[in-house]
């Protein structure tokens, strides 16, 4: 036990000396790791946020069956009856031509000349439908069932829009992932290099250690520990930065009208914690990897 404590003291002491000796390099490595893992953390949060937002939209998604303008009243009622009795449909709402015109009036309130071109008669009446389950597949199959019915002009689902946004987010995630990988690789290399410099600075000591029979793991451990500490420090800085940025961004979305679209992009606190913890761990892993490579490469018997 005394031996173990003595060794722990030795490792802590040696690691501290190494860190103090290379302060500028240390800071550079920590900052690179911080930026890299911050991106990883933000990417993770963006992933959660987009999944949450997409889920919310899909949940609220309705679809709308637009009817031919000259459809007969009996056809309208028959269709309504069928929709109401459909097992997969929760509820429906009939939008008359007049109601459609009112909605259009609201939308075109700033463009009266455009509204003047539109006659109530030319507008289609429609059924707004809330399906029992908010699943894209179900909505699509329902839409397909009614698209070919006589008197149906068109069926609009929100799925296309949601799919487009999902696609956009997927490419965004890939870009973030790619950038994180590049930065993680850069951080690993930087730590690798830093540990190499540290080992070079202490080559006499390492030579003596080998001479008197210190094991490789004993010689390597302080260096690996050093790299891991740097990574951990970078991870913590990166996690704090990611947390601060997340708050700013959510505040911005809340304030700005242009970015109002993004308001549904929020992460739950447990998702936030997961992302932050992952960020810190990522930093430590990057540090340990870089230094383990360096120690393995430059410290042979």
């Amino acid at each position: 036990m005394a031996g173990f404590l003595g060794r722990t003291g030795y490792f802590v002491h040696e690691t501290w000396i190494n860190i103090r000796r290379n302060l500028t390099l240390t800071v550079a490595a920590i900052l690179t790791v911080a930026v890299g893992v911050m991106l990883v953390g933000l990417g993770l949060m963006a992933r959660y946020a987009s999944t949450n937002a997409l889920g919310r939209w899909q949940g609220g998604v309705q679809f709308e069956i637009f009817l031919e303008p000259n459809i007969a009243g009996g056809q309208i009622d028959a269709l309504g009856q069928e929709l109401r009795n459909h097992p997969d449909i929760e509820r429906i709402q009939y939008i008359t031509k007049d109601q459609a015109f009112e909605l259009l009036e609201e939308m075109l309130v700033d463009e009266p000349e455009l509204l003047a071109e539109v006659s109530i008669e030319s507008l289609p009446s429609s059924y707004r439908i809330v399906p029992r389950f908010a699943e894209g597949e179900l909505i699509e199959s329902l839409a397909a069932q009614f698209r070919q019915r006589p008197g149906v002009y068109s069926v609009e689902t929100g799925r296309q829009q949601v799919d487009a946004i999902r696609e956009w987010f997927n490419s965004f995630r890939w870009i973030v992932l790619l950038m994180s990988i590049v930065l993680a690789a850069a951080s690993t290399l930087l730590i690798f290099n830093m540990i190499r410099v540290a080992m070079f600075a202490r080559r006499r000591e390492i030579e003596v250690m080998k001479l008197v029979g210190a094991t490789n793991s004993f010689i390597r451990l302080p260096f690996i520990l050093e790299g891991m500490l740097h990574g951990l420090a970078g991870g913590i800085v990166g996690a704090v930065a990611a947390g601060v940025l997340r708050n700013h961004v959510e505040e911005l979305f809340g304030r700005s009208e242009i970015l109002a679209f993004f308001r549904s992009f929020t992460v739950t606190s447990s998702q936030f914690n997961t992302a932050i913890i992952a960020t810190v761990i990522m930093g430590a892993v990057v540090g340990a990897l870089g230094s383990a490579f360096a120690a393995g490469r430059f410290l042979d018997v």
Partner: protein, 225 residues
């Protein structure tokens, strides 16, 4: 304690640094390795500490066949071997005490062993009063005594010395030889590579002379030439 069976060491496919050497060194012997520069003395010592593998032949040290020893076991082999060099290899930023203690700390010896062994060995080499000095505050002879203390503090079975008096004046060299003789007297096998004719002639110990990597002479109570 040390046995070489027809050992050859070829560097980079060309230089035959050691060429078909067979040698048997018993426990407690004191052996001088002599020969001009490049005759293979240093390579012989490096073969014994497993810093270099033999190209052919077998090297046995402290009961271990070095051609079969795994790299993970090499450090444990070296704990049985103390090494002393011409340039001392002391750590300049550590005190005399710390330099010697370092050798015990890095092989995981507990603190109470360090605090009893280090003063004892510094006493043995006559440097107890300088334990707080740094190497550059010491004379060459004193530095070499520190390096011997470091090599011997773990009580190795074998002490290898590569030109330990090479940088020292004759009087200081004499002191170092008295110290090595005392260490040999405790039962430690000592192998010393040297150019120092006066010392070899005076000590009258076993002399193994090398030339172009081959043993050309092996005498029990030999002289330099």
């Amino acid at each position: 304690m040390i046995r070489l069976d027809n050992v050859t060491k070829i560097y980079k496919g060309e230089t035959r640094a050691v060429d078909g050497v067979s040698l048997d060194i018993k426990k407690g012997e004191f052996v001088f390795l002599v020969g001009e520069s490049g005759s293979g003395k240093s390579t012989m010592l490096r073969l014994l500490t497993a810093e270099e593998p033999a190209t052919t032949g077998q090297v046995h040290v402290a009961g271990k066949d070095l051609s079969r020893i795994s790299s993970g076991r090499v450090p444990y082999l070296r704990r049985n071997i103390g090494s002393v060099f011409q340039d001392f290899k002391l750590l300049p930023q550590k005190t005399v005490y710390e330099n010697v203690a370092f050798a015990l700390q890095v092989i995981g010896r507990p603190k109470n062993i360090v605090t009893t062994q280090v003063p004892a060995i510094l006493d043995l080499v006559g440097l107890a009063h300088k334990q707080k000095s740094f190497p550059d505050e010491l004379s060459g002879g004193e530095q070499q005594r520190v390096s011997i203390a470091r090599a011997f503090v773990n009580r190795p079975l074998i002490l290898l010395a590569d030109e330990p008096t090479g940088n020292l004046d004759p009087n200081t060299a004499q002191e170092i030889m008295r110290l090595l003789d005392r260490i040999n007297g405790t039962g430690t096998t000592v192998v010393m590579a040297t150019h120092d004719q006066a010392i070899v002639d005076q000590m009258r110990r076993r002399v193994v002379a090398l030339h172009a990597g081959q043993v050309v002479r092996d005498e029990q109570h030999g002289v330099y030439e």
